[in-house]
């Protein structure tokens, strides 16, 4: 499996229509009478991100974590500040790539796929396993664009 770091929307970019915005004035609409009564809206960031400086979004690619509810194309919220524990879904470095697996620390260190068609990755004793971060949330859109 080879990682390509350009996502699909990059290719879309070049195909999108370029619409220049001209210097004409646009009349402003009637201001909403409700605007003074707004309470704060709910922000998903608040729910998914506890430490913004340590949180990265990555795109998942492949099928090996289907039983964990992670599907091809999903966006994962990764928190680097968390200490990876036994049973966490983590992003780990493996074979020069970043991979998503369930971390097992006992009896031996293994990166477990969550799809019976895939094999565990065993980390030999004495070899370092670099953890990029712990996955805290999966963003999975149900309606295709």
């Amino acid at each position: 499996m080879k990682a390509t770091l350009l996502g699909r929307a990059d290719q879309l970019d070049t195909e999108q229509l370029h619409i220049p915005l001209f210097l004409d004035r646009v009349p402003a609409g009637f201001p909403s009478p409700a605007s003074d009564y707004c309470e704060k809206t709910l922000d998903l960031n608040e729910l998914c991100i506890t430490r913004p400086a340590a949180t990265y979004f990555v795109r998942a690619q492949g099928e090996s974590m289907i039983d964990a509810g992670i599907f091809d194309g999903n966006i994962l919220v990764v928190d680097r500040s968390l200490e990876a524990r036994h049973g966490d879904i983590v992003i780990a470095e493996y074979g020069g790539e970043l991979t998503v697996k369930k971390l097992e620390l006992k009896p031996t260190v293994r990166l477990m796929p969550m799809n019976k068609n895939y094999l565990p990755l065993v980390i030999p004793a004495g070899e370092d396993l670099e953890i990029f971060g712990v996955v805290t949330t999966v963003i999975h859109s149900l309606r295709k664009p």
Binding site: M1, A3, T4, L5, L6, G7, R8, A9, D10, L12, D13, Q16, H18, I19, P20, L21, F22, L23, V26, A28, R51, P52, A53, A54, Y56, F57, V58, R59, A60, Q61, G62, E63, S64, M65, I70, D72, I75, L76, R80, S81, I91, E93, G96, E97, L98, T99, V100, P113, E130, F132
Partner: protein
């Protein structure tokens, strides 16, 4: 006076470390980052430094070395570096009441009164390394100059674990004796040469000079450096970084341009980008300067350089007005037939948003409408980057080469780093 303690936290090979963040395959591989039009090397990984490639080397001069050692080359990706820089700074702010951001990859922390600054420095390093993912070194000392020097030592001597405290004067002496003066903050090449002529080559010798002599022969600035090396704090922590007084957007063209439309488009682009920066600072400007010039090194064409300045009726940060002004000013200085090498837009004379004086026939409503439109455009551009004004060029490609730029990992949904399942 209370004893002071400063820490300088500085990222190691910052741009290269950013490029490695999502690329474990680049961890032990030599990496360089190039300047804007891909001309010069502006960041080197440790492996590249070890090969003796100097900062600022033009790429063509080291082509062979690059091929020979399979050095990976990246165009600069400032949006990404900026994002990582903000994460580093945000993380540091939890560690000290006063953090002064000194550059994109370094910050001074005021640790005065902290019990065990060395252990604390180690915690700071470990936290940034782990949580942001780029390695830093921490230099600690009773003055900023010593904190800088401590950071140099932390980077140079691996056995320090990346954290050095120079509060102890005996430890200081040992480092002073083996460190060349050029490593001292504020001692440039000219000073180094001039100091060498009077036999001063090590930091220890510089610190031992008489302050009156230094003031007379050199400057008060150098005198301050000598005092700081001896543990007397002269450079205070800047409380709050002052708002920018000027915004410049300029670039060297990737190739010479003599087409009027393309230069004008570039300037409109700069005006739009400058306007964006201005709004980010929550400021408005009164004056704009536009400049264009040919290359002073071009032997085949006469040198032409010109600039024009105009001021706005009312202070503004509206892209439409700035683009309009840039176009007007450009017409005044454009001369056909020159191979232009560089162009730019400068904004000056700022006033903060919300303190404007309204001229007789303008109402605050006009400003509010403009502000809302600009806010909307900024929002859209942050996410997709697809709105621009009629005068701007339609494509960025011809302009900066940027062929080797890494994806907008942290700023575009379509460019997120990919992890394998």
């Amino acid at each position: 006076m209370r004893n002071k303690t400063f820490a300088l936290v500085d990222c190691n090979n910052f741009y290269c470390s950013c490029e490695r963040l999502f690329r474990p395959d680049l961890k032990k591989v030599p990496v360089v980052v190039l300047s804007n039009n891909d001309g010069c090397i502006i960041a080197r990984s440790q492996e590249v430094k070890a090969l003796g490639i100097k900062m600022g080397t033009p790429l063509f001069k080291v082509r062979d070395l690059i091929r020979q050692h399979n050095i990976r080359i990246f165009s600069s990706n400032y949006t990404f570096y900026d994002n990582i820089s903000n994460r580093v700074m945000q993380t540091l702010e939890a560690f000290a009441p006063d953090v002064e951001i000194y550059s994109i990859d370094e910050a001074f922390l005021d640790l005065s009164g902290f019990a065990d600054p060395l252990s604390y420095g180690r915690v700071i390093k470990a936290t940034v390394d782990k949580e942001v993912g780029v390695p830093v070194c921490v230099g600690i000392g009773p003055t900023k100059t010593l904190a800088k020097l401590a950071n140099y030592a932390a980077k140079k001597y691996k056995q320090t674990g990346g954290v050095v405290n120079l509060s102890d004067s005996a430890r200081r002496q040992r480092l002073f004796e083996i460190t060349p003066v050029a490593e001292v903050w504020g001692i440039g090449r000219r000073h180094t040469e001039s100091l060498a002529r009077i036999g001063i080559t090590t930091v220890g010798q510089l610190a031992g000079l008489d302050t009156r002599f230094v003031r007379q022969k050199y400057s008060v600035v150098m005198e301050r450096t000598v005092r700081e090396l001896n543990g007397e704090s002269c450079i205070e922590q800047e409380e709050i970084s002052p708002p920018k007084k000027q915004i410049v957007c300029s670039r060297s063209f990737g190739e010479k341009v003599n087409d009027q439309i393309r230069v004008r488009q570039a300037l409109c682009e700069f005006a739009a980008r400058a306007a964006e920066k201005l709004r980010k600072e929550k400021q408005r400007c009164k004056v704009m300067t536009v400049f264009i010039r040919t290359s002073p090194f071009d032997k085949n064409a006469p040198y032409y350089s010109n600039a024009a300045t105009g001021s706005f009726y009312q202070d503004t940060s509206d892209t439409r007005q700035l683009v309009d002004m840039a176009t007007t000013l450009f017409k005044r200085i454009w001369r056909q037939g020159h191979p232009y090498a560089k162009a730019g837009v400068m904004l000056g004379d700022f006033s903060p948003e919300g303190q404007e004086q309204y001229p007789l026939f303008e109402s605050p409503a006009d400003t509010e409408t403009s502000d809302r439109l600009m806010w909307t455009i900024d929002r859209i551009n942050q996410h997709t980057g697809k709105i621009w004004f009629g005068g701007q060029r339609p494509k960025k490609d011809w302009f900066m080469k940027q062929e080797l730029r890494s994806p907008a990992y942290t700023s575009r949904w379509g460019s997120l780093p990919v992890v394998q399942l």
